[in-house]
C-alpha cells in the first residue's frame, strides 16, 4: 500500500465521519418510549410482548396475504371501538370504506371484538393512536398513515391483562 493510497483512504475516512446518520423520526421515538416505559411492561417485561404494526407493502394488501390479517384486525378493533362500524350477528357492518371484511379476521379476534362491543374490553385510549383514529376514522389514507408503526394495546380493565395482536404467520 503506498502512501498516496493511504492519504486518499484517510481523506475518505474523514469524509465519512463528516456525514451524520439521519436521525430517527419523532414517531419512532414515541413508539420506543412507549415500549420501553410502558407501565405494564415495567411490571412484567419478561412476559409481556408488544408487536409493532405497519402498513403492509402493496402486494400484501391483497386479501389473501397473511399480513393483511393483523392489519385488518387492528383496523377492525379500532373501527369498532370508535363506533365507526358496529357489530351485529357476528359480522362487522361497515359504515365506511375502512371496515375490514370479517372473513379476513380470525375467530379469536372476532370474539375480542364482541367483548369490545359488550363493554368487557377496552382499547387503550392513551397515546395518539386512538385520538387520531377518532378524528380521522373517515379518511382511510390518514388512518393508514397513523396506524402505520403504531402499537396496539388492548387491556382488560378487570384483570389488567394485555391483549396482543400477533402477526399471522
Amino acid at each position: 500500500m503506498n502512501s498516496n493510497e493511504d492519504q486518499m483512504i484517510a481523506q475518505l475516512e474523514r469524509e465519512l465521519l463528516s456525514l451524520a446518520p439521519l436521525p430517527p423520526d419523532p414517531a419512532l421515538l414515541l413508539r420506543l418510549e412507549r415500549t420501553m416505559h410502558d407501565p405494564v411492561l415495567d411490571r412484567a417485561p419478561a412476559a409481556a410482548k408488544v408487536i409493532p404494526f405497519r402498513k403492509p407493502q402493496p402486494a400484501a394488501m391483497e386479501h389473501n396475504q397473511p399480513n393483511w390479517k393483523p392489519w385488518a384486525a387492528v383496523a377492525a378493533c379500532a373501527a369498532v371501538a370508535t363506533g365507526a362500524v358496529t357489530w351485529k350477528h357476528g359480522q362487522i357492518q361497515a359504515q365506511n370504506a375502512l371496515a375490514a371484511s370479517p372473513k379476513f379476521i380470525s375467530s379469536p379476534v372476532q370474539s375480542q371484538l364482541q367483548r369490545v362491543q359488550q363493554g368487557n374490553l377496552i382499547l387503550d385510549p392513551k397515546g395518539g393512536l386512538m385520538r387520531q383514529m377518532r378524528l380521522e376514522i373517515n379518511n382511510q389514507q390518514h388512518f393508514e398513515d397513523r396506524v402505520n408503526g403504531a402499537l396496539l394495546e388492548i387491556r382488560y380493565p378487570t384483570t389488567q391483562e394485555i391483549l396482543v395482536v400477533e402477526p399471522v404467520q
Binding site: 465519512l16 456525514l19 451524520a20 415500549t35 420501553m36 411490571r43 419478561a46 407493502q57
Partner: protein, 185 residues
C-alpha cells in the same frame, strides 16, 4: 391474538436517563439498523425490538459521568440479533419486499442527514456503501458511525478482532476505488 397476564400493578415513571441516552445514540443505532435491514420500516422494527431486548437484558455500562447507562456495544449486538431473527421469521415478507424492491418502491431509504451541498456526495457515498458486501458495510457502519472499537466490533459481530480490522481496511479501499479520486472532495 394472545393474552398475557401481568403482575401486581406497580407503575413506574419513565426513566429520563434512557431518553437522554437514546437522544445521544439513536441516530447511530438506527443507522446500523438501516444497514442491517432493507427498508425503513424494517429498520424501525428492529430498533424497537433491540431496545426492548437490551432493556430486558439489563446490559449497562458506566458513562463519562460515572453513571450507569444502557450499553452501546450491547445495543449494537441486540440490533444484529434482532435483524437476524427478523430475517429468519419473515421469509415470506422478505419475498414480497423483494418483489417490491424490483418495482423500485424501496429506493427512498436514506442513511445520511446531509446538508444541501452535501446531498450529492452523501448520495454517492451511500450508493457506494450499498454496493459493498454486507460484512464490509456492517464493519464500516459500526466503526465510523457506531463509534465502536475494533474489539467491540469483533464482539458485536462475533468475529476475531483482526478480521474486523482487516475488513474495515479492505472496505475503505473498495469504497475509495468506487468513489474515484476525481470524485473525492
Amino acid at each position: 391474538m394472545q393474552t398475557t397476564p401481568t403482575n401486581s400493578p406497580v407503575i413506574k415513571q419513565p426513566d429520563p436517563a434512557w431518553k437522554a441516552w437514546f437522544a445521544k445514540h439513536g441516530s447511530r443505532l438506527l443507522m446500523f439498523c438501516r444497514q442491517q435491514t432493507r427498508t425503513e420500516a424494517d429498520a424501525e422494527d428492529v430498533l424497537q425490538d433491540a431496545m426492548f431486548r437490551l432493556w430486558r437484558s439489563g446490559m449497562t455500562e458506566v458513562d463519562e459521568h460515572g453513571e450507569a447507562c444502557p450499553s452501546l456495544p450491547g445495543a449494537f449486538t441486540q440490533i444484529r440479533r434482532s435483524a437476524i431473527d427478523q430475517a429468519r421469521k419473515n421469509i415470506r415478507r422478505a419475498n414480497r419486499e423483494d418483489r417490491a424492491l424490483e418495482m423500485g418502491e424501496m429506493t427512498d431509504v436514506v442513511w445520511f442527514d446531509s446538508t444541501l451541498e452535501q446531498d450529492e456526495r452523501a448520495a454517492a457515498i451511500e450508493t457506494a456503501m450499498k454496493t459493498l458486501p454486507d460484512y464490509y458495510q456492517e464493519v464500516i457502519t459500526l466503526k465510523i458511525w457506531g463509534d465502536l472499537t475494533f474489539e467491540q466490533i469483533a464482539e458485536t459481530l462475533d468475529i476475531p478482532m483482526n478480521t474486523a480490522a482487516s475488513r474495515y481496511r479492505y472496505a475503505l479501499e473498495k469504497l475509495r476505488r468506487t468513489l474515484t479520486p476525481a470524485k473525492l472532495a
